[in-house]
């Protein structure tokens, strides 16, 4: 059962505009969320994270919003640049309840294309 879902497999945005990537999760125990960016033939690169005690975290052009009641998070990229074209994965874990058996749950990814 997919506990983290990214329902949009792809997204195209014009350069300079906002990119919004969405992620939904089902497990209410998740309290730590991350976004990874992946270029072809490379491993995922950590982009930004947010813990459940916050509803927003910002790092330069990247902002992650968390809506706990809706079990939804989103990544906003403003302004979008052609170099942002990549696959974006969201991931979640139950950090507070972490034990040696805990793990990250990944979504299936959204492929973002920023058109020059």
């Amino acid at each position: 059962d997919q506990q983290v879902k990214q329902n949009s497999p792809s997204l195209s945005v014009q350069e300079g505009r906002i990119s919004i990537l969405n992620c939904d999760y089902t497990n209410s125990m998740f309290d730590y969320f991350l976004w990874y960016k992946k270029y072809p033939a490379e491993g995922p690169t950590f982009l930004i994270s947010i813990s459940s005690i916050k509803d927003k975290n910002e790092d330069g052009r990247f902002t992650v919003f968390l809506n706990k009641s809706a079990k939804h998070l989103s990544l906003h990229i403003v302004p979008s640049q052609p170099g942002d074209s990549a696959v974006y994965f969201c991931a979640a874990s139950a950090l507070t309840f972490s034990n040696t058996g805990n793990q990250f749950y990944f979504g299936t990814g959204t492929s973002l294309t920023v058109i020059p």
Binding site: Q2, V4, P9, Y32, L34, Y36, A41, E42, G43, P44, T45, F46, S49, F89, A91, S93, A94, L95, S98, N99, T100, G101, N102, Q103, F104, Y105, F106, G107, T108, G109
Partner: protein
Amino acid sequence: DAMVIQNPRYQVTQFGKPVTLSCSQTLNHNVMYWYQQKSSQAPKLLFHYYDKDFNNEADTPDNFQSRRPNTSFCFLDIRSPGLGDAAMYLCATSIFVGETQYFGPGTRLLVL
């Protein structure tokens, strides 16, 4: 720069021929993970080590084994690769379980 290194980047093996993928890290992290990722799918956790403690996911086939001889290195052994094992294999590390994971570049395995 501290990093996670995977060798080789591309590996071709024959059906049924054992293969070993390697991962090393200079981050001095406690936890090392192996993921399998197939096209358009989420990375699937196979197992992880917390220091020397091995944690196998329930649905990881017996065909997949792992070794961690020291803090820096972790190996993925596929004893008898099948065509369905062709995938990208990602190694990751974190300080503690559940915290931010840092990935290597991956090894793409092709099974002929």
